[in-house]
């Protein structure tokens, strides 16, 4: 499936802007040290970066560690139960969808930690010997800014390219095949898509280089935002309803992903409310604002999913192209069509 040349030019232009965005936090840190005349790396003992942080953050660290390890599982289960109680899944959570959601929720939690642990504890020390905690002199605020931009902008590109490059689409299709929004589908991904998440390895490398403490805070805040953006509960509605909250809403919907902007990304139409060909942001929606890939409507789509969905088997959705679907004409079948994230013309 050929890629539109205009799109290639737009991607190239946006990548150039992104390179500057990656530099930005480091440039701010440079200006800060230059103005203050500080050189904290001199005589730096390469101690972990938690040494010079405020006491409040040290107090919060174990809380965040617990949230990261098991807290999100509990939060997802509680929120999911609330969504069911509110009837947000209608009768769409069929046996087939249930199986995919449960496999995608559980399997990566068992299979991914050994991979990331091997990468962090074995591969990085082997590839970058002697560089552990090399940048532990970076102040917490700067580390937070660096990781937030590096991690989330990287995920934005990983996500955007899986939509815009047709040969990548089928690795991300599983996340969009759910005909509903909510905790049930928040973790629903093809395992190969999850396994090669670039930002996981980028952040792990920056942790190895000494930015572990800020990374803990960024990853927990990011998980809260992405999880809540996938929720079927429109928690952002009051911000649009009450006039007094409009200034907050204006900032919020441009800065982070909300149910309104992210549900739009999961809609099965492009009708002014649905925008599955945009709204790619995960933690920050700001990237969509900068690259003009997002729409903000303060409305919620009526239907979700993909028009080419054939209720493919869970194993094909979880592990394509290792396992293929038997459904005739499916994108995930052997020799299935490569349609990208296009929608059927009669659905527009």
């Amino acid at each position: 499936m050929p890629i539109d040349k205009t799109l290639v030019r737009k991607i190239a232009k946006d990548i150039s802007v992104s390179l500057l965005l990656y530099v930005l936090p480091v440039a701010v840190l440079f200006a800060y040290f230059a103005l203050k005349g500080e050189t904290p790396w001199v005589n730096n003992t390469h101690a972990p970066a938690a040494v010079n942080v405020p006491a409040a953050l040290k107090f919060l660290a174990p809380v965040f560690k617990n949230i990261q390890s098991w807290g999100f599982i509990v939060i997802a289960l509680v929120l999911g139960a609330a969504e069911f109680a509110l009837g947000l899944y209608d009768n769409k959570w069929t046996k087939s969808e249930r199986t995919i959601d449960i496999v995608c929720f559980l399997a990566p939690k068992l299979l991914l930690p050994p991979v990331t642990a091997y990468f962090s504890l074995k591969l990085l020390p082997w590839l970058l010997p002697g560089l552990a905690n090399q940048f532990s002199w970076v102040p917490f605020w700067a580390g937070f800014f660096i990781i937030a931009v590096a991690d989330d902008l990287t995920q934005y590109w990983y996500h955007r390219l899986h939509h815009q490059l047709p040969f990548l689409w089928r690795f991300h299709r599983t996340h969009h095949s759910a005909p509903y929004m909510g905790m049930a589908m928040a973790s629903r991904q093809n395992f190969i898509y999850t396994l090669f998440f670039s930002q996981i390895y980028l952040t792990a490398t920056l942790v190895y280089l000494g930015l572990g403490f800020p990374a803990l805070f960024v990853t927990v805040i990011k998980s809260f935002i992405t999880l809540s953006a996938h929720s079927g509960i429109p928690w952002d509605k009051p911000f649009y309803k009450y006039r007094v909250l409009h200034p907050v809403a204006w900032v919020l919907e441009r800065l982070i992903s909300t149910p309104a902007t992210h549900q739009s990304h999961h809609a099965d139409t492009v009708d002014g409310v649905g925008n599955y060909k945009g709204n790619f942001g995960n933690m920050f929606f700001l990237w969509d604002v900068i690259f003009k890939t997002g729409i903000i409507t303060r409305k919620y789509p009526k239907t979700f999913g993909i028009k080419f969905y054939k209720q493919e088997e869970w194993y094909a959705q979880f592990l394509w192209p290792i396992f293929k679907s038997k459904k005739p004409g499916s994108e995930l079948a052997a020799n299935g069509p490569e349609v990208g994230d296009e929608i059927q013309k009669n659905s527009i």
Partner: protein
């Protein structure tokens, strides 16, 4: 192979060369998306240290 014998999978379901190509291209794209920001951030912090130490 056992699954193929039992009739759960047929030979058409197995990974073919085209799948390996797509998978390799996918891993390459992911690797570049990892490496470019890493080079900018780590290289930037290294350069900051070098320039301000002078």
């Amino acid at each position: 192979m056992a699954a193929i014998r039992r009739g759960r999978l047929n030979k058409n379901d197995a990974m073919i060369f085209n799948d390996v190509t797509i998978l390799s291209k996918k891993i390459l794209v992911g690797f570049l998306i990892y490496l470019i920001p890493l080079a900018i951030v780590a290289g930037g912090l290294w350069l900051l240290r070098v320039l301000l130490t002078r």
